[in-house]
Amino acid sequence: MPEVKNSDDGVQVDLIGGERMAGKTSMEKIRMILDGVRDGNIVILEEGLSPDEESKLIEVTMTEISPDEFSGIEIETYPRSKTSDSSLLGRLMGRESTGSKLTVIGPANQIETLHKDENLISALISHK
């Protein structure tokens, strides 16, 4: 996994390529993301998550929040998820295109701002 790791009090950034996620189940992806974030890492997904996986990520995150340990996640996606194929034919065919998207996920207590505009996601990360 490509990663940037600084000194002991630095912040690790994990960039997870699409191929690494391709063979995994939804729960395996969510486990990988939350394990990284709970270690204090910033996780960047090259291909983002599907809407169903995003829903499960929120659900599992909620079950793992505990006082003074883990308060949840900050998440931002670029570009914003499109309504994919919203045509009647597309829906009848069961198409679920998430489009090309890049998702940044980090621990809520360390990401001070996660700002997104048209073509930039910027995060200010504090040390623990």
Partner: protein, 213 residues
């Protein structure tokens, strides 16, 4: 999944929805914390049944477990629509008990409240995938609607092919901007209202009948 299998399953889902209209539709009221979901649920329940759904508060996560009001009959233009209203906790990706300490709570109460809030959000997300027939998505029109949680949730709702009605609540506030919400989610119709004051509820009921009837 093969093309024809996907097509067959999609058609089956559509026909299931068309022919199951005898049962009340379960309509989930979703949105971020403090958007006015419970105020709206109470307004609808009081208008059509005389009872409220639950207590309202300015403290975030006042609604920590989903509350349901069953068999709410809404009549518009001679047509009767029966729905079960499910008022859900405000959806978020983080809950920090310390945010409750500012609301005159001790640590024990704050921790309990945050634990209940996380369980409620997890439950609401599960139901969104499994157990609702339509969604009323409530936004506070005086705040920025273009947040990741809103975008993500509306994407999730769209991916489930659920009918969704977006309500721009709190139009009684000076900072309210319904247009800001229309601009953020142009793929959906946005209905302005003040659930607190009861403004524009006639149109809300007309749209509920239209979307969920």
């Amino acid at each position: 999944m093969g093309l024809f299998t996907g097509l067959r399953q999609s058609i089956a889902r559509v026909t299931d929805k068309l022919f199951s209209s005898e049962e009340p539709k379960r309509i989930g009221i979703y949105g971020p914390p403090n958007a006015g979901k419970t105020t709206l649920a109470n307004r609808i329940a009081r208008d059509w049944t005389g009872d409220a759904v639950g207590p309202e508060s300015h403290v975030p996560h006042e609604t920590r477990r989903a509350r349901r009001k069953e068999n709410v009959e809404i009549e518009r233009d001679g047509r009767k629509v029966t729905i079960d209203i499910v008022d859900t906790p405000g959806v978020t990706t983080k809950v920090d008990y310390e945010e409750f300490l500012d609301h005159d709570m001790d640590k024990e109460d704050a921790v309990r409240r945050s634990r209940e809030a996380t369980e409620g959000v997890a439950e609401a997300m599960h139901w969104l995938r499994e157990d609702v027939d339509g969604v009323i998505y409530v936004l506070d029109s005086s705040t920025d609607p273009f947040t990741q949680v809103n975008t993500m949730l509306i994407g999730i709702i769209e991916s489930q092919d659920l009918p969704v009605l977006i309500l721009a609540n709190k139009t009684d506030l000076d900072d309210s901007s319904v247009q800001r919400i229309r601009n953020a989610y142009p793929q959906h119709e946005t209905i302005p209202l003040s659930a607190l004051e009861g403004d524009n509820m006639d149109e809300v009921y007309t749209k509920i009948a239209e979307y969920f009837g």
